[in-house]
């Protein structure tokens, strides 16, 4: 899609911000705009301005009573073993915390808490759910395990390729994952990074960029 409007850089930026807010950009440009949003305050301000411009349209989104998904959300964020604070007020939590700290200080010991090994997970799925990969990143070992839980082998003469996208960065190739399960060393990964799978010609992306993104997911604490 070429663009024949004569634009100043400012106008081009502003239109890009509007297109990002509208959501019309194709995924690669959209991801690029998201990256820029994080590192370019001027662009972020343009995006906020357009969000405010369009905000009155938000009244058109009908409310849809949601089931209680908090247990699943809290399990994703805080782990299953750790339960949300029950009914202590923030003040009582503060006092309880002070008590523990003071007791530990008096005893001259650290308060040791058993910690599960931190695991990050991401689910990478096509929108129709026909192809799903589950990724687990062991932060202690720096290893990533990717398993295809649903979906076919890549078409003939094609491969699935895995990518990671650090916030504000372009996708970085991580290798082919055409086998049903694979493990790789990936010490550079961190929570909040996006993992994506693309369909590539056999052997992988010819130009270092994803050819056809099939799905993406964000690494979050398991």
């Amino acid at each position: 899609m070429s663009d024949d409007l004569p634009l100043s850089p400012e106008e081009g930026d502003d239109l890009l911000a509007a297109e990002y807010v509208l959501g019309t950009l194709p995924l690669p440009e959209r991801l690029e705009a998201e990256g820029r949003l994080r590192r370019d305050p001027a662009f972020a301000a343009r995006v906020r301005a357009w969000e405010a411009h369009f905000a009155p349209l938000n009244d058109d989104f009908a409310e849809e009573p949601a089931p209680d998904l908090m247990p699943a959300i809290e399990a994703r964020l805080f782990g299953k073993a750790e339960r949300a604070p029950a009914r202590l007020s923030p003040r009582r939590w503060f006092l309880a915390g002070l008590g523990v700290t003071a007791a530990a200080a008096l005893a001259g010991v650290y308060v040791l808490q058993p910690r599960p090994r931190p695991m990050l997970t991401a689910r990478i799925a096509t929108a129709d759910g026909a192809l799903i990969f589950d990724a687990r990143f062991d932060t202690a070992k720096g290893t990533l395990t990717v398993a295809r839980v649903t979906g076919p082998d890549p078409a003939a003469q094609h491969d699935y390729e895995l990518w990671y996208i650090a916030p504000g960065k372009a996708p970085t190739p991580m290798g082919l994952i055409s086998a049903a399960k694979g493990k790789m060393s990936a010490p550079e990964l961190a929570a909040g990074y996006t993992l994506a799978v693309s369909l590539e010609p056999a052997g992988g992306s010819p130009d270092g960029k994803p050819t056809q993104v099939l799905g993406a997911g964000v690494l979050t604490l398991a």
Binding site: D13, T24, A42, F43, A45, E64, A66, L77
Partner: protein, 182 residues
């Protein structure tokens, strides 16, 4: 719940207050599920998206700045952005893309000023400004915002060649901006 009530909850979420996080879910999940459902058109996927939306809200709440945006606008932007990410990741939307480089540009020297003006009520004028667009362009902007229509969808719906639909919509956006800020 009032806008101030939601902004207050969101600021408490930024301090890792899980009780506030639950209250925020109770107060806003119906609206945010409505956003996901309208864009994704599929209840199961919308509920999955809602989980991711609240995960992002918890992780990013500290980025909310009450001086720059309304809380509900911010929350809906998180939900819309995630729903549209999912939509764009669908295979059929991967075609197309600009050949121009919209990123080789110069930064605005005064970020934030315009956003603050807008956040204080300037945005009310958008419905009036839609009237200054030709009806098809106004419908396209609304369809993109509310239903997550891509350029390919818009080209089909408005019978415009795919290679010109972006310019067509951008002209509408420029007109809209002139009206909003004129």
């Amino acid at each position: 719940m009032s806008e101030d009530g939601i902004a207050d909850l969101l600021e408490r979420v930024a301090t890792r207050d899980r009780t506030a996080f639950r209250a925020l879910y109770s107060a806003t999940s119906a609206k945010l599920l409505g956003v996901c459902l309208r864009i994704l058109g599929n209840r199961a996927e919308a509920e999955e998206a809602l989980q991711e939306v609240f995960t992002r809200i918890w992780l990013n709440a500290a980025r909310f700045d009450a001086g720059r945006a309304r809380a509900m606008t911010w929350l809906i932007a998180v939900a819309r952005n995630h729903a549209i990410d999912r939509l764009r990741a669908r295979r059929e939307d991967m075609a197309g893309g600009g050949e121009d480089d919209p990123f080789a540009t110069i930064a605005d020297p005064e970020p934030g000023v315009e956003a603050q003006l807008v956040a204080r009520g300037e945005a009310r004028r958008i419905s009036d400004c839609f009237d200054t667009l030709e009806p098809a362009r106004a419908a396209a902007v609304r369809g993109a915002y509310l239903d997550g229509l891509s350029y390919a969808d818009l080209a089909e719906r408005h019978a415009i060649p795919l290679n010109t639909v972006r310019t067509w919509l951008r002209r509408g956006l420029m007109r809209l901006k002139e009206c909003l800020e004129g």
